[in-house]
């Protein structure tokens, strides 16, 4: 089923193929518009977070730093209070500054995704190569375990974990999520290694007496980079979805602002019915932008790894 997975990615990428058609196939594949747009969105989000932390007063994330439930500048809340420039994006139900919350919460949310994904990826690369190269029992074991673990939704195991142990740190949560992020890279790499092992250049390298390590990391890994990138991005998405899910159930880190936590508090305080759209809406829109950015990057990477996609139509 693993090679079919690649086809799937290819097919996904097929969705917006028209735009790609404008590009000449001899252009640098890394400069396809989806990849650029996606990366642009993600970088913009990271950049805003970074600049924001440098320029905006992050102490405003604390309870009671402003009047409660102020709207963003240019709007009015149910009580007829207008937004003020001290809190350009308004305040939440405890008087915390929304801009400060977002400026701190957004990088935190992205960080959970990145850390979980990097750990998962490293594990996956190791296990995938081991399975593909060593073969035999080891391969069977790794294959079966990754097949099994890919079916188990991480959210539910983590719900059990976090409801028992209570408050967790950002890092611990990332590590826990990483425990469910290694399966698809493992399967991907294993399948690629199996097919590449038979290919000419690897055979050549083996004949010329290169060490297994050399073959794995010098000959094969570079060819896998686009796939790995794609898998990495897909994992970041899954990790963030899982983290947001846990946070919306009230199970994430309690005192550290994350986008999911802000949404959880907003829902719990009746923000929808009180017309406090900025409270739940801004983090929701940021997350949506993040996910769409990640999707575009993923589609773009597919075009890099599947040249077939670039020439059709």
């Amino acid at each position: 089923m693993s090679d079919a997975t690649l086809e799937t990615n290819a097919q996904n990428a097929d969705a917006n193929i028209k735009a790609a058609g404008r590009f000449n196939r001899f252009d640098n594949p890394w400069l396809n518009p989806k990849l650029l747009w996606g990366a642009g969105i993600l970088l913009a989000i990271i950049f805003v977070g970074f600049i924001g932390q440098l320029t905006w007063n992050t102490d405003l994330v604390f309870t009671g730093s402003g009047i409660l439930k102020l709207p963003p500048v240019g709007f009015e809340n149910l009580r007829g209070q207008a937004g003020v420039w001290d809190h350009p994006l308004g305040t939440d139900g405890a008087g915390r500054d929304m801009l400060a919350l977002l400026v701190i919460g957004t990088p935190n949310t992205l960080m959970i995704g990145a850390i979980a994904s990097i750990i998962g990826m490293s594990l996956g690369i190791f296990l995938g190569f081991s399975a593909g190269f060593i073969g035999g029992r080891v391969d069977d074991f790794i294959r079966i375990i990754s097949d099994v673990m890919i079916t188990i939704p991480p959210l539910l195991i983590l719900v059990v974990f976090q409801s028992v142990y209570g408050d967790v740190t950002l890092l611990l949560m990332s590590v826990l999520i990483a425990g469910f992020m290694w399966q698809s890279p493992t399967r991907l790499i294993r399948a690629q290694v199996l097919s590449m092992r038979e290919s000419g250049y690897v055979k050549m390298a083996q004949l010329s007496g290169a060490s297994t390590f050399h073959i794995m990391f010098k000959e094969m890994l570079p060819n896998l980079v686009p796939y790995l990138f794609g898998s990495f991005i897909a994992n970041v998405t899954t990790a963030i979805v899982t983290a947001v899910g846990l946070e919306v159930l009230g199970l994430g880190p309690q005192r550290i602002p994350t986008l999911g936590r802000v949404i959880y508090e907003a829902i719990n305080s009746g923000a929808l019915i009180q017309n406090l759209w900025w409270w739940w809406g801004l983090p929701t829109m940021l997350l949506i932008a993040m996910f769409i950015g990640l999707l575009l990057v993923n589609l773009g990477l597919d075009e890099v790894s599947n040249p077939r996609l670039r020439k059709v139509q």
């Binding site: 195991i157 028992v164 199970l251």
Partner: protein, 338 residues
């Protein structure tokens, strides 16, 4: 349609059983390392209700005995596994006399119903959109709108749920904010009740639909493009094969296969997504049960719900795995790979 090789089925079945067993073990193992004593929590619940508890040591000992905490770990584990096989998850800590299974049995039909509702809507909308995208007479606007909407496949349903809730329940007041049926309606097989259930189900279902319909759209679109004249289809026709055979053997397969694979891999995410949608809509299903249990720290219910959802996921994957070789001839011919 050939036969599915037996070793393929056995392989899949083993994976399925192994999945369940590993998940069940994880769920059992995790709370063992916690410093929290379930008996103390039981006592705390009494204290919170009655404000005063005498003979607490005695009650603690009784609770430990009843929860089987005095048994050695392997006996506890064995009892737990035997319990799971018979859907016996013990007693809920928070709703004291109710067995966990009773609570799950009340919630499960809602979750499955919502799932069916959203799958049906997804199938209809997805395929229609796919066909629409390829059809020559489709207005240009739609050829822009549909791919834009498909960007939504990237986001988790909880976010689409929030947006839909805001637009249709809070602002337009077209749909109810929460619940699975009207408070005035008495459950039963009446049109009023069924109507109310569908009315309450539409928004939660739509939140799932907008993030999943893309699968079917892509499949249908692929199919339509293929129908419009690929070389191998023409070739097949030229070879004089019957049109229906061509349609099935070449086109459906090539268009649908990758979607099914992708779908199988996403089932887990979809189910957990629906759980979260149920939580924000306070829909009477497993998601609400799970959320309430988290609030009450009702570990027995949390374990039971998690297990059942994992079981559902694994079963769906297993079924997809069984259907797969019917469509993909490679599996029938080659040895079953992962």
């Amino acid at each position: 349609m050939g036969k599915i090789p037996a070793d393929y089925i056995i392989n899949r079945l083993i994976t399925f059983l192994l999945t369940i067993w590993i998940a069940a073990t994880l769920i059992w193992l995790i709370p063992r390392f916690s410093p929290v004593d379930p008996a103390e929590i039981g006592l705390g619940r009494m204290a919170a209700g009655g404000a005063f508890v005498e003979n607490s040591e005695q009650i603690l000992a009784q609770l430990r005995e009843r929860l089987g905490l005095n048994d050695p770990w392997y006996l506890q584990y064995w009892k737990y596994i035997v319990g799971l096989v018979t859907f016996d998850f013990g007693l809920s800590y928070a709703n004291v006399p109710s067995p966990v299974w009773t609570l799950i049995a009340q919630a499960l039909p809602w979750t499955i119903g919502l799932m069916l509702l959203s799958v049906i809507i997804t199938f209809l909308i997805g395929n229609a959109a796919g066909a629409f995208m390829v059809w020559e007479k489709t207005p240009r606007v739609w050829k822009v709108i549909i791919p834009t909407l498909m960007m939504f496949t990237a986001i988790p349903p909880i976010l689409s749920g929030l947006l839909l809730m805001w637009v249709f329940s809070v602002k337009a007041q077209m749909f109810p904010l929460t619940g699975a049926y009207g408070l005035q309606v008495v459950p039963g097989l009446t049109w009023e009740f069924v109507g109310s259930v569908i009315y309450h189900g539409i928004l939660p279902a739509l939140s799932i639909v907008v993030v999943t319909f893309g699968f079917w759209t892509l499949g249908m679109r692929g199919l339509m493009i293929t129908v419009q004249g690929e070389d191998y289809v023409n070739l097949a026709k030229a070879k004089g094969l019957r049109p229906r055979y061509v349609l099935y053997q070449y086109m459906v397969r090539n268009a649908i296969l990758p979607q099914i694979t992708a779908f199988a891999l996403k089932i887990g995410l979809l189910v957990s997504g629906q759980i979260l949608v149920e939580r924000i809509f306070s829909y009477n299903g497993m998601g609400k049960l799970l959320y309430d249990a988290i609030l009450d720290q009702d570990f027995a219910v949390i374990q039971g719900v998690s297990f059942i959802i994992i079981l559902m996921t694994a079963m769906s994957v297993f079924i997809v795995d069984l259907i797969y070789p019917l469509i993909d001839p490679r599996i029938r011919h080659s040895e079953a790979t992962a």
